[in-house]
Amino acid sequence: MTIIKNNFVKKSNVRCLHYRNRILQLSQKVGALHIGGSFSSVEILDAIYNVLKKKNDKFILSKGHCGILQYVILEDKKIISKKFLESYCQKNSKLGVHPDYGNPGIEASTGSLGHGLGIASGLAIGLSKKKEIFVVISDGELMEGTTWEYLLMISSLKINNMNLFIDFNGLQSSTFSKNTHPTLNPIKEKLKAFGWTADYCNGHNISEILQKFKHKKKTRPFALICKTTKGYPINFMMNVPMWHYRSPNEMEYKSAKKILSEHYKS
C-alpha cells in the first residue's frame, strides 16, 4: 500500500515539476505572467485534472489570472498543442493571460474575480447530477461580494455536485489578505455556516488534498480550503507581493530552475 502511495506521490511530483518548469520556460518569452498564484495552485490543479475529474465533469479556473497553469496542464493532456501554447500572448494569438471560453479545454472566460462559481452553478444544474463540477478560486475572491452570494445560493439550491477549492495563499496583488481583511479568517466556519461541507488541507500535499476530499458528502456542496504559499517553492518568490505579476529575468530564471530541481530532489 505504502509503495503504491509513494509511487502515486512520485508521479504527481514529476507532473508538478514539469508544470512549474514549463511556466518558467514560457516566462522567458513573455512578460505577462502571474507566476506567484500559478505556483501556489499547481498541486490543486494536478489533483483535479489527474485524479478527481472524470470524463464529462467540468472545471472552471475562477482565479483566471493563473490561466498559464491551466494551459500547461492542457498541453500535457494533449488538449491544446505545443504550438498553441507557445503562441501565448503573441501577435495574432487566441491564447491570452486569462482563459477564454471557446478555446479548447476552457469552460468559462474568467479574469474578473468572483464570476467562476456563479457560472459553475448554472453548469452544475445543466449537468447530470452524477457529474461533478470543480472550481478553483483564490482567497482574494473571498473579498468579492458575489462569491458569498454564490456560496449562499449554491447550498440553498442544493447544488451538491459542486466542489470548490480555495487556493488560500494569503497574499493578494498588493499585500497580505490579513492586512486588508483581518476578519477573513476563519474560513471553514464561515463556509459551514453557509451550508457547505468544508475542511482545511495543505494545498501543496497531494495526498492530503485527496484524503480530505474523501470527506465530501453527497448531500452538500464541498469546499476545500487549501493552505498554500504564493510562489512555492521558489524561496525568493515565496510570499513576495511583487511576484504576483512578474516574469523572472534571465538570472532569476536560472536560479529558479536550480531551486526547483533541488526541491524535487529532496
Partner: protein, 313 residues
C-alpha cells in the same frame, strides 16, 4: 405584459424542455406559478441575488439550455452589470435578460427603480441584441423568436401590467430586426415608436385624421442590431420622422436615427421625444413623469400639426 410573458413561456415550456426561467425574487404569479408547479426544475428562484441569476444563466446556456433571467429591469441589468457584460455578453451566450417594468413604469418608486439608461448601456455591449415590443401581442412574437431561433445574448425590455394591444390589425407581421409598419399612412410623415409608449401615437391618431394628417406608424421593436437597409428605406420614403421612446435621449432610438441621418445624408426633419438626460424626481403617475421629461400626447400632436402648417407634410 408580465402576464403575457408568463403565459407564453409556460406554453413554450410544454413543447420545449430546455427553457429555464431564473428569477431573482419575483414571485411566480399567473402562469409562471403553473410553470413552477408543473416543472419545478425549470423555474429557479435564486432569491435577492441578481449576480447569481445572470451567472447561473450563463452556465445554463453553456449546457445548451434556453435561460431567461427575469426580474425588474433596474435589477436585471445594473446590479449585476459585470456578469451581464462578461458572463453573458463577452462569452456570447444565448441568455435572455428580461427587464420587466422598464423605463418609467415604476414612476412612484423613484430613481432606484427607473431605467432610463438600460438601452443606452446595453447598446454598446458587443454581441447583445435588444428587443422592445410595443404590446403584449408583439411580445408573444419576440418570445417565439427567442424560444426557437435565438443564438445570441438578448435584452428583452417589457412593460408591467395593463398594456393594450395595438398590433392586432397591423399592416405587417412581426419580423426580427425589421421595423414593423403598424399603420400605413399616405402622408410623408412617419411616427416611429419603441415599446409600450407607442400608445401615445394611438391616443392622437384620430385627432390627426381630423386634421387630415395620415401618418405611418412604425414599431421599432429591435433596438439592436441596427438594420441600415430598413433605416435607409424609411429615410427615402419620409421627409418627416418623429421618434418616441421611454428611453434616455443618449444612445436610444432618437440617437440611432440622428446618427444614421448624418451617415446617410438624410435631408428631412427628425423630431424626437425621449427621456431627458436627468434624474427627474416626480412621484406621480408614469404620464406625470413623462410629462416632466417633455413627453406627452398633446405636445406630439402639436409638433405634427406644426409640420403641416409649415408645409413639411
Amino acid at each position: 405584459m408580465r402576464n403575457k410573458f408568463a403565459e407564453v413561456l409556460y406554453n413554450y415550456s410544454k413543447k420545449n424542455n430546455k427553457i429555464r426561467v431564473v428569477a431573482a425574487d419575483i414571485s411566480p404569479a399567473g402562469k409562471l406559478a403553473n410553470l413552477s408547479k408543473k416543472y419545478p426544475d425549470r423555474f429557479i428562484n435564486v432569491g435577492v441575488a441578481e449576480s447569481s441569476m445572470i451567472s447561473m444563466c450563463a452556465g445554463l446556456a453553456m449546457r445548451g439550455l434556453i435561460p431567461f433571467a427575469y426580474t425588474i429591469a433596474s435589477f436585471s441589468i445594473f446590479r449585476p452589470f459585470e456578469m451581464v457584460r462578461i458572463d453573458v455578453g463577452y462569452q456570447n451566450l444565448p441568455v435572455v435578460i428580461v427587464g420587466m417594468g422598464a423605463g418609467t413604469v415604476y414612476s412612484t418608486l423613484g430613481g432606484t427603480h427607473i431605467t432610463q439608461e438600460d438601452v443606452s448601456v446595453i447598446r454598446c455591449l458587443p454581441n447583445f441584441q435588444i428587443l422592445n415590443p410595443c404590446d403584449p401581442m408583439e411580445l408573444e412574437s419576440c418570445l417565439k423568436y427567442l424560444c426557437t431561433k435565438n443564438k445570441s445574448p438578448c435584452y428583452l425590455r417589457i412593460g408591467k401590467a395593463g398594456e393594450k394591444n395595438f398590433t392586432f390589425n397591423a399592416h405587417e407581421k412581426w419580423k426580427y430586426n425589421k421595423p414593423r409598419v403598424i399603420i400605413k399612412g399616405k402622408d410623408n410623415i412617419c411616427l416611429i415608436g419603441t415599446g409600450p409608449i407607442i400608445r401615445f401615437f394611438f391616443e392622437i391618431y384620430n385627432q390627426l385624421k381630423e386634421k387630415r394628417i395620415y401618418p405611418t406608424i412604425i414599431s421599432y421593436h429591435t433596438l439592436k442590431p441596427d438594420n441600415d437597409i430598413e433605416i435607409k428605406k424609411i429615410f427615402k420614403k419620409y421627409n418627416n420622422i418623429l421618434t418616441l421612446e421611454d428611453i434616455s435621449e443618449v444612445n436610444g432610438l432618437s440617437s440611432i436615427f440622428k446618427i444614421k441621418a448624418h451617415e446617410f445624408n438624410y435631408k428631412g426633419k427628425i423630431i424626437s421625444y425621449a427621456l431627458k438626460d436627468k434624474n427627474i424626481k416626480n412621484y406621480g403617475s408614469q404620464n406625470d413623469l413623462l410629462r416632466d421629461h417633455g413627453i406627452e400626447p398633446k405636445k406630439i400632436l402639436q409638433s405634427i400639426i406644426k409640420l403641416k402648417k409649415n408645409k413639411w407634410i
